[in-house]
């Protein structure tokens, strides 16, 4: 983990658009304030603070202009981690590593470190039974707390992400780390509302390589989150059909998250977590880019 944090040293994670007014920070704010960074002039309107009049310009042009300057603000960052049982894959039967949870945890810690280095408050919500919830803070040791909370988390049962998103203020940045196999529709609906309210949402879709290339041999596939669902046979004839359905699901998920205004990135377990974090942090690029290293990124 230390190597990954070293690799992320110096990475900045700017907000993709002006953030709401807040404590002074590194992100451009929608509020035009009185800072020293000049932005533009605007005609004086009734109600403007007369102290912001540019008296020299008034003397030269006999017109009253107000001097506008850009404001900088902090943006609270929420990292929402899906810790349902489906993230604990591949299991011991296939002897494959890392698991989806390993990758998700590394990405979460990396993002927390990057946000924290930018002086942004960063918090964590884990979507599982009794999952951890750490309010966004900027104090020293926050990343370590997040890391400890993630390492203490066990992926069990089914979890819902949308209830966690509902109380979050839209004036923040949200990164959802999930395999999107849970409450997909509810989460997308809540995310749409948050984005409409001004929130910046990124979705990291964690996909295991073993889910794309299923293990050889005959298996009896069981859903780890729904034991009551009848098992299905995984054999040679079912592989092509499975892959077709899974590819369709991934493409549809990417399309719908993009349509909702969120950033979407598919992270495979054979990809470097640091590379994925860099992709997320530089998300302002905006275009869909397919990366053969296991990262597929899209920003609106």
């Amino acid at each position: 983990m230390g190597a990954m944090l070293d690799a992320l040293r110096g990475v900045r994670w700017p907000a993709r658009r002006p953030v709401a007014a807040g404590l002074p920070g590194a992100h451009r704010s929608r509020k035009r304030g009185t800072s020293g960074e000049f932005s533009e002039y605007r005609l004086y309107r009734q109600g403007d603070d007369p102290r912001r009049l540019d008296w020299k310009l008034l003397a030269r042009s006999n017109r009253a202009f107000v001097r506008l300057t850009d404001d900088r603000a902090l943006v609270p960052t929420w990292i929402v981690a899906d810790a349902s049982a489906s993230l604990d894959f591949p299991t011991e039967e296939t002897n494959a590593r890392p698991t989806k949870w390993d990758l998700l945890r590394a990405i979460a810690i990396g993002l927390a470190a990057v946000a924290h280095s930018g002086a942004d408050p960063v918090g964590l919500m884990v979507a599982s039974g009794g999952g951890a919830r750490l309010t966004p803070r900027t104090r020293r040791g926050t990343v370590r707390e997040i890391s400890r909370a993630l390492y203490e988390t066990r992926c069990v049962g089914a979890s819902a992400i949308s209830p966690l998103l509902a109380p979050i203020s839209p004036n923040c940045r949200i990164v959802i780390l999930s395999d999107l196999l849970g409450d997909f529709e509810d989460t997308l609906r809540t995310v749409s509302q948050l984005i409409a309210a001004g929130a910046q949402v990124d979705c990291v879709h964690v996909v295991a390589v073993e889910e794309l290339d299923l293990p050889e041999g005959a298996w009896l596939a069981v859903d780890p989150e729904a034991a009551e669902v009848a098992p299905r046979a995984l054999h040679r004839g079912a592989r092509a059909e499975y892959r077709r359905a899974f590819d369709l699901f991934r493409a549809e998920a990417a399309r719908r998250w993009r349509a909702a205004g969120a950033g979407y990135l598919e992270a495979r377990t054979d990809a470097s977590p640091a590379r994925i974090v860099r992709h997320i942090a530089s998300g302002a690029a905006g275009d869909l880019a397919a990366d053969h290293s296991g990262v597929t990124e899209q920003n609106p």
Binding site: F89, E93, T94, V156, E211, A227, P231, A233, E241
Partner: protein, 470 residues
């Protein structure tokens, strides 16, 4: 050495065991469980899948099933342990007729003993005349012709048929195999004059019942006996003995020239002049047949019965219709000693032939009225020919052709000992025990299968992995 009574049953059991082993390698079973989060994208198909493995599945079940099958197969197929030291069996059947002298018989037995005198040969010698004489072990070595002659049998004028000889040999071989469990094959040697008379209609079928080759030894005829009884053309010569015969009988025999009234120079009818010399020789050594045919009353030793009218007589397959009056019946004691030659139409014996030291005496219990001409016509021809015919019946003493004998010998090897074992005899006391063990193994197999089905069947839904997930 191990013997198998019913190899096809054992083969079926082994085949079943092999099929069971193959099925355990190719069995269709539930594959391993994989916790797959994206299971929902798999097609919804039946959960059973073919799983081939390099190792057999359910090893305990496989062992129990194979063991039960093999035990049942061994029990039902009659596998027997015949010990070490395989022996060869040999059955020597000697046909003895009136033309087989005591010296010839002794020579044959001595030769058979000498041929079979080997450590690995078990032999049975059977002498067949009118009875069957089985010579066992020491008895055959100390063979004496008078030992056989003293037994309750008589010498037939012709040897027994080959069919009956082979049947005797079959029975003797079965006894040999039963007594000597280490015998693996049986030779059959038939020694005798092998006359055409021995060939009957049933011979091909009976020969086919002997499952091996047969060696035939043609013996020399005894000239003295053969000439007197067999070889020469037979000249009918009848002497009326006992009570006075009916005039009708006497005249009928005289009319045919068969009556030898003086007992020494019988009236004979020759078939051709060229045979006169032979006929002279025959008349010197061929005693006339004694015919006891009382005109009234009953023959000696017969019992008187209530006179009843019987409408016909049967002899040599021909019927003589006449209102005969039956006044005599033949007692069983006499009937068992002789050979019936004529019957009443209701099946009772009307005339019988009893062998004597030199020829035979025929007793006729048919009263013919003195004035009747029933014996003069052609209808009585068969009856008179039967009464005046040669003792023991007319036989064909022509030897069987060599080519026919070769056909009867057959090709191949000796008869296997297993062919003489009956299914009942093949069963051993171990069969019940083996069957019981097979049954116990099947019960154990059922218990193991039931236990595993609880784990694998419905319980597969809730195995350790799923419980962990829950």
């Amino acid at each position: 050495m191990i013997g198998v009574g019913a190899p096809f049953i054992l083969g079926a059991a082994v085949f079943g065991a092999l099929v069971t082993v193959v099925l355990h390698f190719l069995s269709v079973r539930r594959p391993r469980v994989l916790l797959l989060p994206t299971m929902r994208f798999l097609p919804d198909r039946p959960v059973r899948a073919v799983s081939r493995s390099a190792r057999p599945s359910d090893l305990w079940l496989l062992l129990l099933r194979v063991a039960a099958l093999l035990l049942a197969g061994i029990a039902l197929s009659g596998v027997t342990w015949r010990g070490t030291g395989v022996k060869h069996g040999r059955v020597v059947v000697i046909q003895r007729g009136a033309d087989t002298s005591v010296e010839t018989l002794r020579t044959l037995v001595a030769r058979a003993i000498a041929d079979g005198f080997a450590a690995d040969t078990v032999m049975r010698i059977v002498v067949v005349d009118s009875a069957v004489h089985l010579l066992n072990g020491a008895e055959s070595k100390a063979f004496r012709a008078d030992t056989i002659s003293s037994r309750a049998s008589t010498l037939p004028y012709a040897p027994s048929t080959l069919s009956s000889t082979i049947l005797v040999a079959t029975r003797s071989a079965a006894e040999l195999v039963r007594d000597e469990r280490t015998v693996d094959a049986v030779d059959l040697v038939i020694a005798g004059p092998l006359l055409r008379q021995s060939d009957d209609a049933s011979l091909p079928a009976v020969r086919a019942s002997w499952p091996g080759t047969i060696r035939f030894v043609v013996t020399q005829h005894d000239p003295g006996v053969v000439d007197s009884l067999v070889s020469l053309p037979y000249k009918r010569s009848v002497v009326l003995v006992g009570a006075d015969a009916s005039d009708a009988v006497r005249s009928a025999l005289q009319a045919r020239g068969w009556l030898n009234s003086a007992r020494s120079d019988s009236v004979q009818s020759t078939t051709s002049p060229s045979q006169s010399a032979v006929a002279k020789k025959a008349s010197a050594s061929h005693p006339p047949i004694e015919l006891e045919w009382p005109a009234s009353g009953v023959p000696e030793g017969w019992t008187t019965s209530t006179p009843t009218t019987v409408g016909a007589l049967v002899a040599r397959g021909a019927v003589l219709v006449f209102p005969f009056v039956r006044t005599a019946r033949i007692p069983d004691a006499i009937a068992s000693r002789g050979r019936a030659i004529a019957w009443w139409s209701d099946g009772e014996v009307a005339a019988i032939e009893v062998p004597t030291a030199t020829a035979c005496t025929r007793h006729v219990g048919v009263n013919v009225p003195p004035s009747s001409d029933v014996l003069q016509g052609q209808a009585s021809r068969a009856l008179l020919h039967a009464l005046a015919g040669p003792c023991g019946g007319e036989v064909d003493h022509t030897p069987i052709a060599a080519a026919e004998l070769r056909t009867l010998e057959g090709t191949g090897s000796s008869a296997p000992a297993s062919a003489f074992k009956s299914t009942t005899a093949a069963r051993t006391p171990w069969a019940a025990l083996l069957l019981a063990m097979a049954l116990l193994l099947l019960i154990a197999e059922w218990m193991v299968r039931d236990r595993e089905s609880r784990v694998d069947g419905v319980g597969a839904q809730s195995d350790d992995s799923l419980r962990k997930v829950a």
